[in-house]
Symmetry: C2
Subunit: 473 residues, 2 copies
């Protein structure tokens, strides 16, 4: 009798990476159930479609259903896994109003995450979250005047045409509120400004991009303000006001008339299929996984935005829903299920974001409080230094925050911002941190120097030098 297939729930980064790797390594069947119509798309590209930088919606697709079929994967779109029976080793699937049970030998839950909206009413026209190609398409349509809407921008994909049509029929807004000053909020602010909208950005904490630290949060706020954005920090949007269409946002006793709101206040893992299984959970209610992506249920794996991971600095369980983590973990689970046990890898929390011309990166622990809570004795420094030799044009002052443990000297985290190749420099710190380097070792690294690219002492080295000097005291 043939063995039951490897069943994957979710046809995006983690799920299809797993299925593809599995098929390359094993001569067994793999079935992927995807509840939606879209598969394998680049979430991170959605703001750039809205901005107009990406020409067609379908440019954001990595793999077509035909590509997936060519890889020997049995992909079933419009199939929602509604429950899992770990005892029976079956999943219950709903499709086209029918329901059936599918046995599995191994199961991977790769259902991703969804945007949260808190207590805000998102049913009003003109209110958007940016999570999925249909919402990106609807947002773009809403921003375009009815007479100018160009359907060819959608390309040839299974878009929700009714939703696009309704939004394209509405007059575009003159002013928008972006609620949330994280990655999505900052990227959507840039996108909306590019579309000619007057943007008010609301952030509940005192700084934008909290994972990047205060210095960089302030630099981003200044840069957005230079571009005409009104930045409200320490401001809570409590209500979206309107009858059918949004008319205003209410915040801190004030009211700002807007014709649009974009909500980017966070995401939550899509764990519904595992409800009732008693599977262990971790931070953010994400599904707890071990070094190989295994959950607490036998033969059940989880990967991507729905799963926890191990933090490279603290060694603790963490939840960092980002793209590379999902691809890597999916691929590793595919190999493991195929018989080649492969760790999913640790996450260092490396992230980069663009705000107009400003490039920002962060990795590890950037906050002394978080580091102290994790048992470290943290010290940190923030410096600014030129990105190129002073005499070579085109450089920019680069801000570097570096955090280390006083006891061991180990680098715990850092953040970088600047307009000249700043973001990619975070990879140097990510590599140093995952290699457990001390600040003294970081300071002695033989990094690149040539006038067009770096001064003799790269900003990363300057930060290490200053912080190391303080640790010596």
């Amino acid at each position: 009798m043939a063995r039951d297939p490897f069943v994957v729930v979710g046809g995006d980064a983690a799920g299809l990476s797993a299925a593809s790797k599995f098929r390359r390594e094993a001569d067994r069947d793999v079935v992927v159930f995807e509840r939606g119509r879209w598969i394998s798309y680049a979430h991170c590209g959605e703001p750039y479609f809205v901005e107009g930088t990406v020409e067609r919606l379908t440019d954001l697709l990595s793999l077509s259903p035909a590509d997936v079929a060519d890889r020997g994967i049995d992909l079933r779109r419009g199939h929602e896994v509604v429950s899992v029976s770990p005892e029976q080793r079956t999943v219950t699937v709903e499709a086209d109003g029918d329901r059936f049970d599918q046995p599995y030998a191994e199961l991977l839950v790769a259902t991703g995450a969804s945007a949260t909206t808190g207590a805000l009413d998102t049913a009003l026209d003109g209110v958007f979250t940016i999570h999925g190609l249909d919402s990106a398409a609807a947002t773009d349509a809403y921003l375009t005047s009815p007479a100018e809407y160009d359907w060819s921008r959608l390309g040839d994909g299974p878009v929700d045409e009714a939703r696009v049509e309704r939004n394209a029929a509405l007059d575009p807004p003159e002013r928008a509120a972006v609620v949330g000053g994280g990655y999505v909020g900052v990227e959507m602010t840039e996108a909306l400004v590019a579309r000619g909208v007057d943007v008010h950005l609301f952030q509940r904490p005192e700084h934008l991009l909290p994972p990047f630290g205060e210095a960089i949060g302030e630099r981003v706020a200044d840069h957005l303000a230079e571009r005409g954005v009104t930045v409200h920090t320490g401001a809570s949007v409590t209500k979206l006001v309107g009858d059918d269409r949004i008319e205003a946002v209410a915040y801190d006793g004030e009211r700002l008339p807007v014709g649009m709101a974009v909500i980017g206040i966070g995401v939550t893992p899509n764990t519904a299929p595992l409800d009732g299984t008693g599977v262990d959970r971790g931070p953010g209610t994400a599904v707890r996984t071990d070094a190989y992506g295994r959950t607490s249920l036998p033969a059940v794996y989880a990967a991507g935005d729905v799963a926890t991971a191990r933090h490279a600095v603290t060694g603790a369980e963490t939840w960092v829903p980002l793209g590379l983590t999902a691809n890597r973990a999916g691929r590793a689970v595919g190999a493991t299920v195929a018989g080649d046990p492969t760790p999913v890898g640790e996450v260092a929390g490396t992230a980069v974001v663009k705000a107009f011309d400003l490039e920002c990166g962060r990795v590890g622990l950037t906050d002394e409080g978080t580091a102290a809570a994790a048992g470290f004795d943290p010290a940190s420094e923030t410096i600014t230094a030129g990105s190129r030799s002073g005499y070579y044009p085109g450089g920019d002052e680069t801000t570097v925050t570096l955090l280390a443990d006083r006891t061991t000297g180990r680098v715990l985290g850092g953040a970088i911002a600047g307009r000249d190749r700043a973001a990619i420099r975070i990879d140097t710190l990510a590599t140093a941190i995952e290699s457990d380097l001390t600040v003294a070792e970081l300071e002695r690294l033989d990094l690149a120097y040539a006038p067009p690219f770096s001064p003799v002492w790269d900003p990363v080295l300057v930060a290490a030098k200053v912080l190391n000097g303080r640790l010596d005291d």
Copy 2:
């Protein structure tokens, strides 16, 4: 009786870094003898002055003599140290036709390196090496038509005015030969093209930039050709032909009429002051130094382009005359002499170079033959991968060569080329190599991903994945 001073020979990167650090840390005298008129200038910026990217010659100065005096350093320009007596602990100094002996408690030889020209006759007008501000000024003057020469470009420094005047009086060339396809040759090629000159680049080896490996050498050659440069590889220039002024270069039995030649075939350490002392030498006849910059002579240190260093990958003595090494080693020696023993640090051979729009970086061992000779069992792969998400505009195919040891999996070296933030990515590899990471560890690094800066799998990770797959076989 007061202790004799710390004496430094050479007023450039290593020497002044040492003197500055020493004065900050110790309450003792330091004397710096510099044979020339210039101090503390950016060698690496000279091609960009010639190109016109750097406006004034004096923009290349880091410190003025007044800055140095403010640091409490006794700087004597126009003072040449002609010999060292390790027994007496004195140096013999020539200045203004006089000669005197200067006792030292500790001595640092930081005399740098000079351009070599092999058997080529460099006395002809129109023949230049790019090593020092006077040669940069003369080269620029030669490229400018007499009627248009602008003395203000020189700024307010001790330039050799007679030499500039002679070169400014000559009509600029239409065609130039650049002899040598290393860093200086490639950078000067870019500079001369920017000045409207028809450039023929001659390289004796089969590829440009040999330390970057064949794949990148070929990519650079293609890029130069696209910009109208005639690249001659495997071609030996044997003679510079002319009476007073260069008229042609002879190579491989052929003869090319040119009005200019720039020689960039290498440098040699300026060890003359130590002649007759019996000091130990290392590769390239550079002065052998230990982990603290000490030579084989008591109380005599060497740092910068004149000294050897320890290689981070092979652990062997090496000679890599580059700017960061000089600054760092000088600073470390200054601290050590001041009483705080500080290692000069290893060198990984990290280097970056720009060729028009193409950015190139290299680190460690990039050649299988060199790696095998150092006792490794090398394997290497070269890949190309996009620098950004495919749908985000502005990216470029990035070439990555990665070399590792089959036995241990350790990353030994790599090189990168591309037009979009390629050079600075070499710092990721430099950090990995100095941290002794394996290819498998490199592949699992949590590097940055965001569409404007990197695809999900950064080109560095793609290279690691492919090479690791081969090591697994």
